[in-house]
């Protein structure tokens, strides 16, 4: 189903100015940390609402991948990676990559049992991702990175391999329920499902039945319409604690737009373009570069949220925006 939207919905809103007819004392500092409440009753804390959804780990040397994963994790970004993306078979080393989002793809490509053990979030990734040629396929370098550990590996992959776009063990989306049950039994992580914006109306009811802890929606253009639509559905589920709504945007949002998205209901936003840019640059001091870029984004978002006089980013509401 095609979603019709205004070209720039985000531009139609601005972060509301403080009241001009009364004194309002501002908060000292707005906290950016968020938490995801699991259906099991536990909750997982995240230092920031930003995440790196699809790092191209296979395109950079593995040592650099590890340094980046560690640096971004240290700066509070939830980083998507499998053990085999980072070739991290050392438990202590793996711990330094947390918080970690582990993509559980339709065909389980690259997945190992250890991913159940150390992920903060398991992303049941039903959203197919195109390669640079438009295929739903895995890059040979990606396959070889994953296959580095195979005992029976006979030769390197030289061609891209088709990726599955639907789990082969499912008859229809109703099977999400038992899949989520399986993941819960094998892991203490939060179970998210990631989908495309075009599939919101089809997949969210299935996600509700499956009792997922969060939903990740990938949006190509303006995310506001999708956020509003998804948030309305999630709120209608009437759960004791709200299901997380993370959004992957096709372009990097400005700090003000990030605040608008949080106000409209998003609880996490991707920062893939910022992170990918850094990944392909050569910095002498990677950690410092990461800290600077992520710190600037966080400071700006904190500043806009602070101007709304909220103590936490999660306290932002649509009332904090005004329509122009």
């Amino acid at each position: 189903m095609e979603i019709t939207r205004s070209p720039n919905r985000l531009d139609q809103y601005r972060v509301r100015l403080p009241a001009c007819d009364q004194f309002v004392r501002s908060c000292v500092d707005t906290k950016l940390d968020t938490s995801v409440h699991l259906a099991t009753g536990k909750s997982i804390e995240f230092p920031s609402p930003f995440f790196w959804f699809d790092p191209p780990w296979h395109l950079v040397p593995i040592d650099k991948c590890r340094i980046f994963a560690r640096a971004f994790a240290a700066s509070g970004i939830v980083v998507s990676s499998l053990h085999r993306d980072l070739a991290a078979d050392d438990e202590n080393e793996t711990a330094s990559f947390l918080p970690r989002l582990a993509p559980h793809r339709c065909d389980r490509a690259g997945w190992t049992f250890r991913d159940f053990e150390s992920a903060s979030v398991i992303d049941l990734r039903l959203v197919p991702i195109r390669d640079e040629f438009g295929h739903f396929a895995y890059h040979p370098a990606q396959l070889n990175r994953w296959r580095n550990f195979e005992e029976d590996r006979s030769h390197d992959a030289v061609n891209a391999t088709d990726a599955m776009t639907f789990p082969p063990d499912w008859k229809n989306v109703d099977n999400m329920c038992s899949k989520v049950g399986q993941l819960r039994r094998l892991s203490d992580a939060a179970i998210f499902v990631s989908i495309d914006e075009a599939h919101v109306s089809l997949m969210l009811p299935a996600a509700k039945t499956a009792n997922v802890d969060g939903v990740i929606i990938r949006v190509d253009g303006d995310p506001l319409e999708t956020i509003v639509q998804a948030k309305q559905q999630i709120d209608s589920w009437k759960r004791p604690s709200s299901t997380a709504l993370w959004v992957v945007t096709g372009e990097q949002l400005s700090p003000e737009d990030c605040v608008k998205c949080f106000a409209m209901g998003a609880s996490g936003l991707s920062v893939d373009l910022i992170c990918n840019d850094l990944l392909f640059q050569n910095h002498l001091r990677l950690e410092a570069a990461v800290n600077q870029v992520v710190g600037e984004l966080a400071d700006s978002v904190r500043g806009y949220a602070n101007s709304c006089n909220v103590a936490r980013i999660t306290d932002l509401r649509p009332e904090h925006l005004s329509f122009v």
């Binding site: 997945w111 029976d152 082969p168």
Partner: protein, 249 residues
């Protein structure tokens, strides 16, 4: 015969034990068995699992070397990501059986649903009835046996391993992008694009014969045909010396 080698048969109930308790008991049984003299403990202790009534996602992630005998049907995803267990199930199973299997074996004396052996990496999976669509999808290694018929898209996305089919196969059999080998005895509705039928080689006959014995499946290896990617067959034909004309002569 098994009870003579392992006189103690343990019994555990899926209805009475919590998941954690079940795994702890299995680990304790395996550990106790390892302390026994080699002759008694070498094939692993036998554990009978009662009260199987189609539960989803049970007996997963088992790393203990135990023999499991499950009496009754199981639901989706049983035996996922197991390493050391050898399991026998008297009943039907649903979807995703043996997902990501890393070793050991699973023998289903019944029928299996969709994605039997999806993404398995090693070990042996056998179903003595029929299996649904997409058997061994995304398989990396190991062996899958189906005595009866199988559904559509068997082996789709597989990058390695072996599938042996005793009955007929549905449409689009095989995966041309990997190194998957399929042996089939019955009819094939259609092959996946890029797959072809190839003559059974002597070494295949030998290997298949041993595998059939190992999976307790009766039949002569000569009754099977080999299905491989066209690329693989071309490479075989391009070799100057084949198996009946070795270069060292």
């Amino acid at each position: 015969m098994n009870s003579a080698a392992n006189p103690v048969v343990h019994r555990l109930s899926l209805a009475q034990l919590s998941e954690t308790e079940l795994y702890e008991r299995l680990a304790a049984i395996a550990a106790a068995s390892e302390s026994l003299p080699l002759s008694a403990g070498s094939i692993g202790p036998l554990v009978e699992i009662d009260d199987a009534v189609g539960q989803d996602a049970v007996l997963m992630g088992i790393m203990s070397s135990v023999r499991l005998h499950v009496k009754g049907p199981l639901g989706n995803y049983p035996f996922s990501y197991n390493v050391g267990a050898d399991a026998r199930i008297e009943g039907d199973v649903c979807n995703g059986v043996g997902e990501g299997l890393r070793g050991g074996s699973v023998r289903v004396r019944g029928n299996a649903g969709l994605g039997f052996g999806v993404a398995m990496r090693s070990g042996t999976l056998a179903v003595y009835g029929t299996a649904g669509d997409r058997v061994a999808a995304g398989m990396v290694g190991g062996e899958v046996f189906a005595r009866g018929n199988v559904g559509a898209d068997v082996g789709v996305g597989a990058r390695g391993g072996m599938i042996v089919i005793g009955g007929d196969a549905g449409p689009r059999l095989g995966e041309p992008q990997g190194e998957l080998i399929i042996f089939i005895r019955g009819k094939v509705q259609s092959l996946a694009t890029g797959m072809c039928e190839a003559p059974l080689r002597k070494r295949d006959e030998l290997r298949l014969g041993l595998l059939l014995i190992n999976a307790s499946i009766r039949g002569d290896a000569k009754d099977f045909r080999r299905i491989v990617p066209e690329v693989v067959l071309e490479q075989e034909r391009a070799r100057k010396h084949g198996e009946v004309d070795p270069s060292w002569r």
